[in-house]
Structures are given as structure tokens and as C-alpha cells.
């Protein structure tokens, strides 16, 4: 196909980070087939912005060059948008910390897919972005969905197992990185977990709890679900000082703990309406500081603007 002037377009894409997961495990679908699945906790503190300029030659240049998954995502999206022979210049700008469980990779990939699609004058649905993302990076979180839309997402298949139809209850999250060395986890080397059948049964109950917490807008029940999910995950990717963190959560009246199941960040969940929130947060920070964790972050899940959408 000859390259016309119209094709030489620029597209922009953006995607947020997440703060690990509310729930992660293995879940049966209606037919009883089991899928790896997760429910992402979006985090608006960090995001990736991408600009993609279509060029007539087939070369894709990624800047910075370290983002190899973004390269894959751009290539796959060009193919998906019937521009297989084309290349382009992909420029990423991200403030998401790496290898902690903030989902920097999926954020890069999603923002890239959005930018490339926009440059090709395509409007992609979140479901389509999910399919491309999983092809590009094997496993993705569900940050391609609107942050107001909570879904149980099969991270290795790129499909939605269940939609919850309501936003999450408003939560205040005090998070920190449990890995003081900062080496983090390389998600690509993290092989799929072989859950016991007891755990697979347990996930049914936790999922029921999550459904009810979202339906009732019940932050307390939600905190119990995230804590139980974090607890099961201790068998596979243990967070240091977990018992101490649980005690601290209980002592400060937190709703519970929440973790990045394949990362190293942990969050204390609070009901923002709770009395003396600032004192409680201070107590957490003081304890974390004593434990050698000097850096923390704080954010809220509340009415937010969605990442920029592709427009044709």
C-alpha cells in the first residue's frame, strides 16, 4: 500500500499505574474452567505518556530504547490496525517506578497501543487493547479499562472474567516498597503459581466478598478481601514483616493490607471518612520509618478522570 500524506499522523496515548492488586488468584468461569485472574487497584500517582509518529518505512524506533515491550506493542498494534508495513517513532515518558508492582510495563504497553491506534485513526476498545497487551508482554494487568470500571481480569489471556458494574468504595492508601534494596521483581521471570485446590476453593469465597464489597460500597469487607488475598500470596511471594504489618494495620484501624502479588509494594487501606485519619497515617509512617522504610506514597481511589481516549 502506498503511503499517503494522511497516514503520516501523530498519536498520543496515556495510561496510569496501578498499586498491585486487590485480589489475585485462580477463578472458575461459568463452565467451570479455571483461569488465572486479578483485580487491579489503579493508582493515579504515576502514569506513562506516549507519542507515536507514523513513518513510511517499516522501522520502529523506541525512545528510550529500554522499553522492549513497548516496541512489541507498537508492532502488534500497527499490524492490528492494518499498517503492518509501517513503522514509526515511539517516544515514552513515564514516572512509574520500576519492578515494584506498579505495573510500569502494562502502563507503557497500554499507552503505546493507544498512541499507535490513534496515529492509525483507529479507536480500540479496552478489550482489544487487552488482547494486544497480553500478546506483547505475556501477562498484563487491567489498567486498559476505565479506572471507574472494576473487572476480574485473566492476566494471561487478556479477557474479562467478570465485571462488577460499580466503582470501588473510596479508599485512602498508604503504600511503601518492602524491598529496601530496590532490586524488585522481574515479572517475566516470575512463573505462574501452582495454587492448591484448597486455595482455588478459597478464592471463590474471596471473590464473593469482593462482589459484595463493591455492591454495598463496603470498604471494611473490601479490606478483608485484600488482606486475605495478601495472606494467601505469602506462600508464593512473601512480603517481609507481614505479621508486623498486619498488627500495625489492626492497631491503626486500617481496613487491611493490600499487596502487589507479583511485586514488592504493600498498601495500608483506610476509610477516608475515619476519625483522626492523619494521626493514624502518622503512626503508620513512624512505624515504617523505624522498620527502615523511609519512602512511602499516598493516594486515594475516587472520582477520577479517565486516561485520554483515542479519538479517530
Amino acid at each position: 500500500m502506498a503511503v499517503s500524506e494522511v497516514d503520516l499522523k501523530v498519536g498520543h496515548g496515556q495510561a496510569y499505574a496501578h498499586h498491585g492488586e486487590l485480589l489475585q488468584g485462580m477463578f472458575a468461569d461459568e463452565q467451570g474452567y479455571l483461569h488465572y485472574g486479578l483485580v487491579t487497584l489503579p493508582c493515579m500517582l504515576f502514569h506513562t505518556e506516549v507519542t507515536f509518529t507514523v513513518t513510511p518505512n517499516s522501522e520502529i524506533i523506541v525512545e528510550p530504547a529500554t522499553h522492549s515491550k513497548a516496541f512489541q506493542a507498537a508492532k502488534l498494534t500497527l499490524h492490528y490496525c492494518n499498517r503492518s508495513g509501517h513503522g514509526g517513532h515511539l517516544k515514552l515518558n513515564s514516572n512509574i517506578p520500576l519492578k515494584m508492582g506498579f505495573g510500569s510495563s502494562t502502563s507503557d504497553v497500554c499507552a503505546t497501543i493507544r498512541a499507535v491506534a490513534q496515529a492509525c485513526s483507529f479507536h480500540l476498545l479496552p478489550e482489544e487493547i487487552a488482547q494486544i497487551a497480553v500478546q506483547a508482554e505475556q501477562a498484563s494487568d487491567s489498567i486498559m479499562f476505565d479506572t471507574q470500571q472494576t473487572v476480574l481480569f485473566a492476566q494471561r489471556e487478556g479477557i474479562v472474567l467478570e465485571e462488577f458494574h460499580k466503582p470501588l468504595p473510596v479508599l485512602e492508601i498508604i503504600g511503601f516498597n518492602t524491598d529496601a534494596t530496590g532490586q524488585g521483581i522481574d515479572t517475566l521471570t516470575f512463573t505462574p503459581i501452582h495454587y492448591s485446590h484448597q486455595e482455588i476453593e478459597a478464592f471463590r469465597v474471596l471473590l464473593a466478598g469482593l462482589r459484595k464489597a463493591i455492591a454495598l460500597h463496603d470498604p471494611y469487607l473490601l479490606g478483608r478481601v485484600t488482606t486475605a488475598s495478601a495472606y494467601i500470596n505469602q506462600r508464593y511471594l512473601p512480603k517481609p514483616h507481614f505479621d508486623r504489618l498486619l498488627q500495625l494495620a489492626s492497631k491503626t484501624g486500617a481496613l487491611g493490607l493490600q499487596v502487589a502479588h507479583s511485586g514488592t509494594i504493600v498498601g495500608f487501606l483506610f476509610d477516608p471518612e475515619i476519625a483522626e485519619l492523619e494521626e493514624r497515617v502518622q503512626m503508620i509512617l513512624t512505624h515504617l520509618f523505624e522498620m527502615g522504610f523511609h519512602i512511602s506514597h499516598r493516594f486515594r481511589t475516587e472520582k477520577r478522570t479517565s486516561p485520554r481516549k483515542n479519538t479517530a
Binding site: R204, A208, L221
Partner: protein
């Protein structure tokens, strides 16, 4: 969308949650034991232990045997049930109609020890049929694990549960359900209902008129540390409670349901701010000629006119009298409770 059940098993095993009062709910089963029978046979099938024509051997005179027979009829397994003479004839006919071979162990004069005789017969049958599968509801860990659908139902429908009450026989339903509920509600109070003459919580083994709860042997599936409270309900009390459950709530259930109802209704009245749930294990049709028949009750000296208003609090199993009694088990092991110094009738508050 209206659900179509793939087989009779899924349709009948699904429990129904019913509100009795503002803070008191019951999970009514048509045949609760379908859950563990289904789950145990599914696991065995997945492990390659079962195929069409496989032989399943189990000891049961009650609902677990019925549940197995229903599944075996659908799946083409051969079922041999070793049963004691107390099995009622209509249940025996029903089991045989479903294709099960029911073997009655007889020749034992004293009731005590008959369960051991049944187990001995199982052993010899197992030698006769190599390649058999033994579901072993009392000791198979898949029994308690089968109860996630109940925990799932309660979590999704109620969002919170403070107290779960049910009868204890194999330990599967109450230990299983509470284990899963406590992942979300660690403070959940679990009250087990046993009966006089059952060894489960430290009473001496004796003949029991109330069937379907209690045990003469100690199953591995009774996790004593799961229990906060234990109640002992006698047969007459359970039967009258069964009738009252029917009269006042039109719930036509078996005697174990009556025992659970008696305890849970009281518990819910005592704790008006707590959400209380009782498990009701089976329907009343099997008991039309017994529990629902005054003549039979009179013959067995089990016709009460009035229920006790409250149980008698005891501090040790040895203090349990012949009527409805309870003690605070406090999530201790059997040994911790039984070896706790017993000082006669003296009440020992802790």
C-alpha cells in the same frame, strides 16, 4: 438469566438462604451431603481414581449414602453401602432403586461398637474388590473443603456473618464453612450442636435416638479448635424443635435441622445485634413416620410438650446433664478441654 442446572445433583445440592428474623437466617438444604459426596467424587475422578463401572465402598445409614447413590446412578459407578440395622426401609429401597448394593451388618447384639463392625466389613469388602474407591467422609479432607459454596452464598448474600451454628457429625459442614468464612471474618463465632451419647466433644458413647449428628468414633474432620461453643441437645428437644420449625416457619426439615434451629434461635435472641446463620442439613420427608408422628415419639419416650427456654451452662463435658446443655469450648483442642481439671459441679468461670 435463569439458570439451567446441568444435572440433578447441581440442582439439589444448591442451598437456599431464608430469613427467619431480622438477625437470624437459615441455610436450608434439601440434601446437604450432596456437596461433600459430589466434591469427593469429582476430586477422585480428576485424580483418575474413578471411571464408569468403578466400585465405591462406603459405610453409611443415612444421607451421605443417599448422596453417593444419586451421583453413582448418574455417573455409572457401582456403589456398595455398608449399613447398620437402624437404616429405615424406605431409604434402603430408595438406595437400591438407585442401583446401590446395601449390605446390612448384623449379628451384633449391643449397639455400641457397631460402627467398628461396619468398618471391619468395609475392610473385607475392600479386599474382595481391589481398585475400589472409599470416599471416607469422616476422614477425607475433601469433605470440609466441599463447603465453599455455602461460605460463598453467605458472603455474597449477607456481606457479614457473626455466628455460624450447625450440627456436627463428620465435622465437614461446620468446620469447612467456618474455615472459609474466617478468612474474611476471623472473629466469627462457631457453635457446634452435638447430642447426648456422642463422643465428639467428650461424652461417653451411648445409643442415640437422634440420628444424623454426633458420632461413636472420632472423625479426623472434626477440627475441635474451630469451635467457640458446644451445645448438647437431646432427641426429644430436637424433635420438638423440628416440629416447631415446621409449625412456625413451614420449613419441613429433619431432626438435625431441629437441633440446629433450637440452638440458633436462642443464640440470635441472646445477641440481637449479631448476624446469626444456622445450617439445616436435610428435608423432613424421611421422618414422616418418626419425628412427625406423635405415636412414634410417645413410643420412644421422646414426646415433649414444651421446649426448654435456655440451655444449662456447664464448664466441662462431664457436667453435661440429660437436657440441652452448652459450654464455652473456646477454640481449644479436645485434650485441652478434657484434661482441664474437672472440679465436680463447681462452676469455673475463666
Amino acid at each position: 438469566m435463569r439458570k439451567i442446572y446441568p444435572t440433578t445433583i447441581e440442582a439439589i445440592e444448591a442451598p437456599t438462604l431464608i430469613r427467619i428474623t431480622d438477625n437470624f437466617y437459615v441455610v436450608a438444604f434439601r440434601l446437604m451431603k450432596l456437596l461433600p459426596a459430589h466434591f469427593i467424587l469429582d476430586r477422585a475422578q480428576q485424580a483418575g481414581l474413578l471411571d464408569i463401572g468403578s466400585i465405591i465402598i462406603e459405610t453409611s445409614s443415612g444421607t451421605f449414602g443417599l448422596a453417593l447413590a444419586m451421583i453413582c446412578a448418574l455417573r455409572g459407578y457401582r456403589l456398595i453401602l455398608v449399613s447398620d440395622p437402624v437404616i429405615d426401609t424406605s431409604l434402603k429401597r430408595r438406595l437400591e432403586e438407585l442401583g446401590a448394593h446395601v449390605e446390612i451388618v448384623s449379628g451384633v447384639e449391643a449397639y455400641t461398637g457397631i460402627q467398628q463392625v461396619r468398618l471391619d466389613r468395609i475392610k473385607s469388602l475392600q479386599e474382595e474388590h481391589p481398585g475400589y474407591f472409599w470416599p471416607s467422609q469422616y476422614d477425607n479432607p475433601h469433605n470440609p473443603e466441599a463447603y465453599t459454596p455455602v461460605a460463598e452464598l453467605l458472603v455474597e448474600a449477607l456481606g457479614h456473618v457473626d455466628c455460624l451454628i450447625g450440627t456436627v457429625g463428620s465435622g465437614g459442614s461446620l468446620c469447612g464453612t467456618s474455615n472459609y468464612l474466617r478468612m474474611l471474618f476471623p472473629q466469627l463465632t462457631v457453635a457446634g450442636v452435638d447430642t447426648h451419647g456422642s463422643v465428639l466433644f467428650g461424652l461417653p458413647d451411648q445409643p442415640r435416638l437422634l440420628r444424623g449428628l454426633g458420632n461413636s468414633l472420632m472423625p479426623k474432620n472434626v477440627a475441635h479448635m474451630a469451635f467457640d461453643e458446644i451445645h448438647w441437645v437431646n432427641a426429644a428437644e430436637a424433635f420438638l424443635a423440628t416440629r416447631i420449625l415446621h409449625r412456625t416457619h413451614a420449613l419441613y426439615m429433619g431432626g438435625t435441622s431441629g437441633a440446629a434451629f433450637l440452638v440458633s434461635r436462642w443464640w440470635a435472641q441472646q445477641h440481637p445485634n449479631a448476624t446469626v446463620v444456622a445450617l439445616l442439613p436435610d428435608e423432613g420427608y424421611r421422618y414422616q413416620d418418626t419425628i412427625y408422628n406423635d405415636d412414634w415419639l410417645r413410643q420412644h419416650n421422646a414426646l415433649l410438650t414444651q421446649l426448654p427456654e435456655q440451655p444449662c451452662l456447664v464448664s466441662h463435658p462431664h457436667e453435661v446433664n440429660e437436657n440441652w446443655s452448652y459450654m464455652l469450648w473456646k477454640r481449644r483442642t479436645y485434650e485441652q478441654v478434657l484434661h482441664y481439671p474437672f472440679l465436680g459441679g463447681q462452676s469455673r468461670g475463666q
